[in-house]
């Protein structure tokens, strides 16, 4: 046992030295640049290397599959049904024309009309637009994460070794590093904002609080290894405006807030989130609601309006979809934020799924599981576009304005613009929608006039 002692202390010393070195490196290369907002470009190099490796891996898979004669993963296809954009009227006319050949002016009911509804019904059972949006996008090439490839099988030894190495790096090296950074970032945020909160209100306080917030968000960005490209930064939101963006995951907040100063809006949570929220509001005015207040739309609208009208307060950050969508489309925007009457600054966020799927399927994963998944991905690469500000025109109402903003965001981000309500992930369709089809069909049969002769 005594023989072990010198080795023991040697091991302990080595461990101590390596930890110190690690932390110094961390400080120099990550935290200090975060404080000053500069970047060494390490992450960009990392991204390029990863891309090269992925390309190699995909080639290997394709070659391996060819040798072994399997079919490969399919190209990203929009479902299996060839949906043509014809309307109900056209389709029914078509059916009748090929049917009894009766004149199309007589509004009669035909047995064949049921074909149209029957077929439409079966087609939606086979494949439907909306539920597809709510599961993660399927990839065309493989990024060495087995969670994203449904077809992953054993292809070759080299590939498996590479995958194993990837797992090792991600879980044993990157994960602890990221957790340490996240921890640092969050604790700095809480202490920093609490300290700033003690200062008297004034320009000094505002300056300091902005910088504390920015610094901590930047550290969190590095904690996730998020490589973000900002476009059109001259359109960044200003005081007294509302910033509106599409929502894919809770990380959106960190991404946007690390490049600008925003006032957050949201519900007060318990636990760690609650602590962070209470600390943040000491340094500068955010808009937090109690759970009971959230249901009261007028109260919400009133507080938001008050905040927006005070020009000294920061722009509000809102995600009008109300829930996380899988980043291939933009769903219906809730009209509440568009009724307030302030200038709206739309922002489009698009994640690159090659490096890690950022979509948060809240019915499948909890927050902690989700964050762990994020931290064990390679990186999160995304692009942010700041679109020029929009205001509500006198002749449009809130819903039309919301749709206009939504289309602009969808167009910029290359996302599909859907009319569906994001809340459908959890609830059912409102009855008014159901009746629309029935009304349309019956108008065709009976017409809007009362004076038709009946047999």
């Amino acid at each position: 046992m005594f023989l072990l002692l010198p080795f023991d202390s040697l091991v302990v010393n080595l461990l101590g030295i390596s930890i110190t070195v690690l932390f110094t490196l961390l400080l120099v290369f990550i935290i200090v640049p975060a404080i000053f907002g500069v970047s060494f470009g390490i992450r960009k190099v990392y991204m390029k290397t990863l891309l090269k490796i992925f390309q190699w891996a995909t080639l290997r898979i394709e070659r391996g599959a060819k040798e072994k004669n399997h079919p490969l993963y399919k190209p990203y296809v929009n479902g299996i049904i060839a949906k043509e954009p014809t309307s109900l009227e056209e389709e029914i006319k078509e059916i009748r024309r090929s049917g009894s050949g009766k004149s199309l002016d007589t509004p009669e009911f035909e047995l064949s009309d049921i074909f149209y509804f029957c077929r439409k019904g079966i087609e939606t059972i086979m494949d439907d637009e909306v539920t597809k949006r709510f599961s993660a996008e399927e990839l065309e090439s493989w990024n060495l994460l087995s969670r994203t490839n449904y077809n992953f099988q054993y292809i070759s030894l080299r590939l498996t070794v590479l995958w194993g190495l990837g797992v090792l790096i991600r879980y044993c090296f990157l994960l602890p590093l990221r957790i340490a950074l996240a921890f640092t970032g969050i604790s700095l945020l809480v202490t920093g904002t609490t300290v700033v909160g003690y200062l008297p209100n004034g320009r000094c306080k505002m300056f300091l609080s902005k910088h504390v917030h920015l610094m901590c968000y930047r550290i969190c960005v590095r904690a996730l290894t998020a490589i973000i490209t900002y476009h059109d930064r001259e359109n960044r939101p200003r005081n007294g405006g509302i910033c509106v963006a599409n929502h894919t995951s809770p990380i959106d907040v960190i991404i946007l807030a690390s490049d600008g100063y925003y006032a957050m809006v949201g519900q007060i949570h318990g636990g760690l989130m609650g602590v962070i929220q209470r600390a943040m509001v000491k340094a500068c005015p955010h808009v937090w609601f109690e759970r009971s207040e959230v249901k009261d739309r007028h109260l919400v609208a009133k507080r938001l309006t008050e905040h927006v009208q005070d020009k000294s307060k920061l722009p509000i950050l809102i995600f009008p979809e109300g829930t996380c969508i899988n980043n291939t489309s933009v769903m219906m925007f809730k009209k509440g934020s568009f009724e307030i009457g302030a200038t709206v600054y739309p922002v489009a966020i698009k994640y690159d799924p090659q490096f890690g799927d950022a979509f948060w399927n809240s019915s499948k994963y909890g927050m902690v599981t989700y964050l762990l998944r994020m931290m064990t991905s390679w990186a999160i690469v995304c692009s942010v576009w700041y679109l020029p500000p929009m205001t509500r025109q006198p002749e449009e109402d809130a819903v039309q304005f919301a749709n206009r903003v939504k289309s602009a965001i969808a167009r910029q981000g290359g996302l599909v613009d859907l009319l569906w309500d994001g809340g459908l992930k959890r609830e059912k369709v409102k009855d008014t929608f159901k009746e629309e089809q029935q009304k349309l069909y019956s108008k065709m049969i009976v017409g809007n006039h009362e004076d038709r002769s009946r047999s």
């Binding site: 060819k66 299996i80 009894s100 049921i114 029957c118 019904g121 159901k434 009304k439």
Partner: protein, 214 residues
């Protein structure tokens, strides 16, 4: 990591029986799993999760058709409580498009099957006849959303259509004759000469795999 990928024997058998390609069967299987939430069978409640289906006025009849034992080619009658993937495919196969290489007899059988499916949809009490009341039910369901339409109008539309059907099937009726209902043969007679096969099928996209290795 899974085992080597080969088309399982059951898949091939399913493909032969229902006429879908293995591509389509795979996709439908994924859809089945999504609808059933990873269970082996689907019940009526699972169809409530499809938002687009809510739009459809005859939604009830379509879902009902999935559980109708006559459509599932089972000897017994009545309604099943739950269906498995094979039954799901059987119902979907009624909506297969026509293939180029079908001969006359196959085409005729195909057509009869599709019409039979439709007949079962109308004939809700399973007695082999579409009565006036059943016909009225269908018309009312299709037209119920229109607030300007009173129940009376829907009924008279149905009555008129029924009289026309009677005249095709039975010819001139005496004043005391009562038309019982449309039997399946009458139903076929009504559709004679009318090309329905092209209207009652699902339009599949062609999905090709990246590497064709044959």
């Amino acid at each position: 990591m899974g085992s080597a990928h080969s088309v399982p024997a059951e898949m091939r058998e399913l493909a032969d029986r229902t006429g879908f390609t293995s591509e389509q069967i795979e996709h439908l299987h994924r859809r089945f799993k999504q609808l059933s939430q990873d269970q082996l069978t689907i019940r009526k409640e699972n169809f409530d999760n499809i938002p687009d289906l809510e739009f459809n006025p005859i939604r009830g009849k379509i879902v009902h058709a999935f559980f109708d034992k006559r459509n599932l080619r089972q000897e017994s009658d009545g309604l099943a409580d739950e269906i498995n993937f094979e039954d799901f495919l059987t119902i979907m196969s009624y909506f297969r498009p026509i293939e180029m290489n079908m001969d006359e007899e196959q085409l005729d059988r195909f057509r009869k099957e599709k019409l039979k499916f439709l007949f079962h949809m109308y004939d809700s009490d399973h007695d082999g006849k579409i009565t006036l009341q059943e016909y009225r039910n269908v018309v009312e369901e299709l037209l119920s959303g229109n607030p300007h339409l009173e129940k009376e109008s829907a009924r008279s539309i149905a009555d008129g259509a029924m009289m026309e059907a009677a005249s095709i099937c039975v010819g001139q009726m005496g004043p005391d004759q009562v038309y019982e209902g449309i039997t399946f043969d009458d139903f076929l007679k009504m559709w004679q000469g009318i090309d329905i096969e092209t209207k009652m099928h699902v339009r599949f996209l062609n999905v090709d795999t990246i590497a064709h290795c044959y």
